[in-house]
């Protein structure tokens, strides 16, 4: 979620139960601003919180102008001293974040658009999804370079809008049903939760520009998903 709208976003994502304590919130706001200034990022996202045994990691990501370019990830937290573990905790952390991002970071359709020159930009005219769109999985894309797009048949590609539909949609995720879509507060908020990486919550208020995702969890994939559905 964007650092600018952190407070509102946290409120909207609170349905999953895990949020931030007031002192963390305050400190995050400040530090995200500092990060933005120091690293000269275009946008800074608060990615989430990875719960550890002893302490938690707070992760932020910085995006440059091109939204799809590889992001820099920053973390803050107490490293777990675990002499037995061969892999450095930091490496493990980074790989977990990357896995999660690749798998379940999502944005609504229309929030980014691609220019003919290549770089993607934030779509300033994005007014939010309509209610009927918001309930469909196909209106959400993975926030990464497309993987399955090339495999689509020409027929399907004909319906796509190249400036908007340049990422994979959630419709074809395997296993099917690994996303839970819910409307909260009547129809005023749509919340998607990943069942594959429990703890990933994506929220969007239809007809508004508010959207974002946050991960709060232990950083473990739910391998039992097929048994649980």
């Amino acid at each position: 979620m964007d650092a600018d709208s952190l407070l509102l976003s946290l409120e909207l994502a609170s349905g999953s139960g895990q949020g931030l304590s007031p002192d963390r919130r305050a400190s995050l706001l400040t530090s995200l601003m500092l990060v933005k200034r120091d690293y000269r990022y275009d946008r800074v996202l608060f990615w989430g919180r990875i719960l550890g045994l002893v302490a938690d990691y707070y992760i932020a990501q910085g995006l440059s102008e091109d939204q799809l370019a590889p992001r820099k990830t920053l973390y803050r937290g107490a490293p777990l001293l675990s002499p037995q573990v061969q892999i450095k905790e930091e490496t493990r952390l980074v790989s977990v974040i990357e896995q999660i991002d690749k798998a379940v970071a999502i944005i609504p359709r229309g929030a980014l658009f691609k220019t003919p020159f290549g770089p993607t930009h934030v779509n300033r005219t994005f007014e939010g999804l309509s209610l009927s769109e918001a309930k469909k999985l196909s209106s959400y894309f993975h926030f990464r370079e497309p993987v399955e797009l090339k495999n689509k048949t020409l027929l399907e590609k004909a319906d796509l809008d190249p400036s908007l539909d340049f990422m994979d949609s959630l419709e074809h995720d395997i296993p099917k049903g690994s996303w839970s879509i819910q409307m909260e507060r009547g129809n005023a908020l749509v919340v998607l939760r990943s069942l594959l990486w429990p703890g990933l919550t994506f929220y969007h208020a239809p007809h508004t520009k508010n959207y974002g995702y946050i991960y709060v969890g232990t950083g473990e994939k739910n391998m039992d998903l097929p048994f649980m559905l």
Binding site: E11, S14, G15, S16, G17, Q18, G19, L20, S21, P22, D23, R24, R49, L51, L53, V54, A55, S130, L131, S132, G177, S180, Q182, M183, E184, R185, G186, N187, A188, R193, L195, P198, G217, T218, M223, D224, F227, M228, L229
Partner: protein
Amino acid sequence: MEDSTSPKQEKENQEELGETRRPWEGKTAASPQYSEPESSEPLEAKQGPETGRQSRSSRPWSPQSRAKTPLGGPAGPETSSPAPVSPREPSSSPSPLAPARQDLAAPPQSDRTTSVIPEAGTPYPDPLKQSSDKRESTPHHTSQSEGNTFQQSQQPKPHLCGRRDVSYNNAKQKELRFDVFQEEDSNSDYDLQQPAPGGSEVAPSMLEITIQNAKAYLLKTSSNSGFNLYDHLSNMLTKILNERPENAVDIFENISQDVKMAHFSKKFDALQNENELLPTYEIAEKQKALFLQGHLEGVDQELEDEIAENALPNVMESAFYFEQAGVGLGTDETYRIFLALKQLTDTHPIQRCRFWGKILGLEMNYVVAEVEFREGEDEEEVEEEDVAEERDNGESEAHEDEEDELPKSFYKAPQAIPKEESRTGANKYVYFVCNEPGRPWVKLPPVIPAQIVIARKIKKFFTGRLDAPIISYPPFPGNESNYLRAQIARISAGTHVSPLGFYQFGEEEGEEEEEAEGGQNSFEENPDFEGIQVIDLVESLSNWVHHVQHILSQGRCNWFNSIQKNEEEEEEDEEKDDSDYIEQEVGPPLLTPISEDLEIQNIPPWTTRLSSNLIPQYAIAVLQSNLWPGAYAFSNGKKFENFYIGWGHKYSPDNYTPPVPPPVYQEYPSGPEITEMDDPSVEEEQAFRAAQEAVLLAAENEESEEDEDEEDDYD
């Protein structure tokens, strides 16, 4: 009659249009403008290409009688008094008109346009009507004005046309038309109500026709937008008269646009938006009901009762503490849940209730409340089930006796372990769930041990619908509500902790007993609890204890010995004592410190933290379960609370593997006669046959020898 120059009058009229109330008096023909709009006649006037005022002035005056008559037209241009009525009239004092208006107002108001004209604001119609009533050609203002108006209405066209020609302010024109509409509508009424005065007889049907034509033209629907001018103008005038903006004339076009847009959105967007927003409104309505419930009944007594009762926990306070720990649902949501809990306590006889937590589901979530009913208020639904079970057992025995022919199956299904009584063990509390605060609370059925046993073996997501079936292996005996209840029981047993000393054992006679009951079941709050330092709570896990009984692997908290109950089958009892001796399961007793909890593969079962490192003096101790992710407990030394928010599953470092089906049972005891053997191969058969023949031969030989011997003996 005043023969003011029409222009003047018009101007005045125009000015006064806004005022409308202006006294009409004295303006006989004075307010041709006014009169026109007011009367319906102007409509017709519009059509007529008559001259402007002049015609008006020429005609209208007599018409006071006319005015009464169908504004539309009768009374024709009798009034020859040329005084330009309309302009004057408005300027004249409105008072005389006022009363008259009222009279007149009535009928026209029935009409559409009249209704459009706000009563406050539109003197137009009234004066007109009144004037028409009066019908006095005398310089009675009202009457005159009326007359004028009517006359003019009779010649709406000329008036209107004239108006147009004159390019008055739009406002004026509109007003005119307004009046016209008014009168138009009233026209019909008037026609019916008031017989045309004498003068009207002469009413040229021309006028009527023109008026009708004018009106028809105005009512014509536009092909583009579906509106008609009549409605639009009347709406606009209504709006103007309602709002009375400054310089209405300058913003007239905007007003027109606004009115159009308002109509537009009503017609076109209503369909699309309403459907989408309907659920939002529904839930808002339900939640509004939550907020209103407080005002339902009497004030004083209820307040006292509520304050004394104390069944409702202070959810907001707990939520505040949990927020310090970074756990929570957001203030608004929590408050709504708070209100929903209040509603629950109001509608059910509840001794104590607690916000247990929230379980996430695929389609919908569950908000769970833990409730303790007042003594004797439980609803006993389960007695029926017990009776059924006993009956079944009896029947099966009878069958066994009858059917001796069929081989009796030696398989005896293990007797179902009965569930625990309410208020004890796993059923100590009753749980209510709802999908969202504002929706009705549903009571979950009590849990039976079999459900807990199987719930331990499966791992399924909740869908959010209580009646959803659970398709799993091993098959779960129940639907989602039972599974939910079982998981809630497991979570409570595993993660409900309190600071050491908060609860103490009650002072009962028996201490630890070794019978089936085992252990202490009850505890009560320790009134002498002095609190523990937060630091201590964080540093050492032994300062926390479980205050919910551990669930044995049998599925119950209190051991149930199924052997003893099998009194019917005594024979097998003895056998069973030897072979099927079931060990009594013992679990950790109540109020065990959590430091005794088992680790999960080197992961400590609990993680403790201080809520804030920056301000430790006011921090609270937070306990986070690693075994049940999502279970939290906090304490500030004196107060404590448990909470759960998550998917409702236990953590397991290994991946879930469904249990394998049990081995195939032996159908029959294996004995020599039915032991299966391989068919002998050819060689074996031959060897066997050879051996047999050899034996036979030998036997024959022996016999023959014996015979020979015998024969020999004979010899």
